[in-house]
């Protein structure tokens, strides 16, 4: 088990390195939001048959689309994309669009960028899969700030009312949004209680602990569910951890200096 966890931890480190390399090349994007996602993404891709074909593969939808460097980094790490793509984030004509865009990145079955919308789209997809009896699941990663969008709660009502047993939301609860802490902008309050009141099973886990994540994902099967993954924004980079300003790159020269130094000294 320990060896297994060591391997997963090594993967997470490699993926974080790739995220930072991509952002160094683009000097545009969302470091904090991408870095907090890594363990969630590794868990889902590693153990849960994520893929393109809705009939045969489980679906992963990154509704908090600004974290997409983490997805791209996974695909490069897994060898599905060539290593050279690390310099292509947000470049004109690149498949690595600023937010997920299936028109350019055909591994995806969604576009995202405007928050809340894919909470509903995922519900429709899960409903369609159940109607078709394909047996596949839908995992949708939401941001904590995204939970402030009313549409997310409309989706939860629909999921519960229609008993979408093949749908699991995972909230990347890193406590920060663009303007500051979630608690100071629009507190989510007792989030797990709210989600349960909407009829979904809800577990809370350490979003950087593989054992807890995997257990929660397994327990989410067969019931409409939500996992609140408590994470650290900017995880893995002490200069960025828990700092609002690293939500997105707003000072390219500062980003170049900090990310270069981190890559040289830490990774």
């Amino acid at each position: 088990m320990k060896q297994h966890l060591k391997e997963l931890t090594r993967q997470a480190t490699e993926i974080r390195k790739l995220i930072l390399k991509m952002l160094l090349a683009s000097l545009s994007g969302h470091p904090g939001s991408s870095l907090s996602l890594v363990e969630i993404i590794v868990t889902l891709f590693r153990y849960h048959n994520i893929g393109k074909d809705i009939r045969a593969n489980n679906q992963l939808i990154l509704s908090k689309g600004h974290g997409v460097p983490a997805i791209y980094a996974y695909y490069i790490h897994a060898g599905i994309l060539p290593a050279s793509m690390v310099s292509e984030l947000r470049k004109g004509g690149s498949p690595l669009q600023g937010h997920p865009d299936e028109r350019f990145f055909p591994h995806l079955n969604y576009c995202s960028g405007s928050l809340g919308i894919n909470a509903g789209m995922a519900a429709g997809m899960a409903k369609g899969i159940l109607k078709r009896k394909w047996g596949t699941r839908v995992f949708t990663i939401l941001g904590d700030g995204e939970m402030q969008e009313g549409q997310v709660w409309e989706a939860f009502m629909f999921v519960s009312h229609n008993n979408l047993t093949n749908l699991t939301y995972i909230i990347d609860y890193n406590k920060l949004q663009l303007d500051g802490t979630v608690d100071s902008i629009m507190s989510l309050g007792k989030l797990a209680d709210k989600i349960r009141a909407f009829g979904l099973q809800c577990e809370e886990v350490d979003g950087h602990d593989y054992t807890q994540l995997e257990r929660a994902v397994r327990q989410s099967a067969g019931v409409p569910s939500c996992i609140i993954a408590h994470t650290t924004k900017g995880k893995g980079v002490p200069q960025m951890e828990g700092i609002t300003e690293w939500h997105s790159i707003h000072d390219p020269e500062l980003a170049r200096t900090v990310i270069s130094e981190v890559l040289e000294n830490q990774f």
């Binding site: 028109r103 919308i117 789209m121 429709g124 997809m125």
Partner: protein
């Protein structure tokens, strides 16, 4: 128009078994309750949640279904504008969006229920076809075209009965129909529920030949532009009549074509100039300047 719409939809369900219908708690008004009665497993009432309804339809489309979603046009298009753009148009999914109670047709409900900006909003989105049927044949053609297409579609339906043209020559083109004789100096250009007003005006000429013909667009984004432009060039005067705000609807579309093609003609634009109010439909239409009497004033 909803009765003709649901009859056509039920008929097409036999041709397209993948049709599934969504409604936002309006099914007794939109008549999709009749679809639910026959196909309960292919009907989803999402409740009063238009944004969610559009997003759910997108998810269903990704599983190979043909979602046909229904709500009141005024509430649906504005509220779910972003979802239509991001979840449906951007990935170009074959979702059919049906906006009921178009224009002033829900006149007694008051301004919030009057869809006078929906075409302006939808026509600003890439990838989506727009249908503004007037007659039962138009409604059938709209559904047929939307279902056989792989792109998103918006169908705009009046609450009022579909127009029933009689005793008038009709010539069908790809995007529009010509009512009356072609060689007239004045052409009334209209769409959707406003054909009824045009035909009322036409029928007032009992002793003489009406001095105008009518072009009614059932397909808002024109595909047979050459034919249309040939026709427009032969007109001395155009009177555009629409149940939409003067910006973003039929008038804007026609004027853009006329400007693009350098066509010289006189244009009178009868459209809605501001926010509306409650009232009986005929009274309200005249007050807004788009009833048949307002049209006759311009023609005479």
């Amino acid at each position: 128009m909803r009765n003709a719409y649901i009859e056509a939809l039920l008929a097409y369900k036999e041709v397209y078994p993948e049709i599934c219908v969504l409604d936002g708690d309006c099914s007794r008004s939109t008549k999709t309750a009749m679809f639910k009665k026959q196909y309960p497993d292919d009907f989803i009432n999402v409740g009063i949640a238009e944004q969610n309804m559009v997003s759910i339809a997108a998810g269903l489309a990704r599983c190979g279904y043909r979602p046909v979603l229904n709500s009141f046009a005024s509430l649906l298009i504005s509220r779910a504008c972003e979802q239509i753009v991001q979840a449906v148009c951007l990935p170009c999914l074959p979702v059919i969006i049906v906006g009921h109670y178009a224009g002033l047709s829900a006149s007694m409900e008051g301004a919030p229920h009057h869809a006078i900006s929906d075409l302006g909003i939808i026509s600003s989105m890439p990838n989506i076809e727009i249908y503004t049927p007037s007659t039962e044949i138009d409604i059938d053609r709209s559904l047929c075209s939307a279902l056989s297409s792989s792109v998103p579609s918006y169908i705009r339906l009046s609450k009022n009965e579909a127009a029933k043209p009689h005793n008038i020559p009709i010539c069908m083109y790809e995007s529009f129909a010509l009512y009356g004789k072609r060689q007239k100096s004045t052409a009334v250009v209209t769409m959707g529920g406003m054909l009824v007003e045009c035909l009322k005006a036409y029928d007032t000429y009992t002793r003489e030949e009406p001095p105008f013909c009518i072009l009614s667009f059932f397909k808002f984004k024109i595909t047979d532009r050459t034919e249309l432009c040939d026709f427009l060039r032969s007109c001395v005067r155009l009177v555009i009549l629409e149940d939409h705000y003067i910006s973003g609807g039929l008038g804007t579309m026609i004027k853009n074509i006329i400007a693009d093609e350098g066509i010289k003609t006189n244009i009178v634009h009868l459209g809605i100039k501001g926010f509306t109010e409650t009232g009986e439909f005929n009274w309200l239409s005249e007050k807004m300047g788009i009833g048949y009497r307002s049209l006759l004033n311009e023609i005479k």
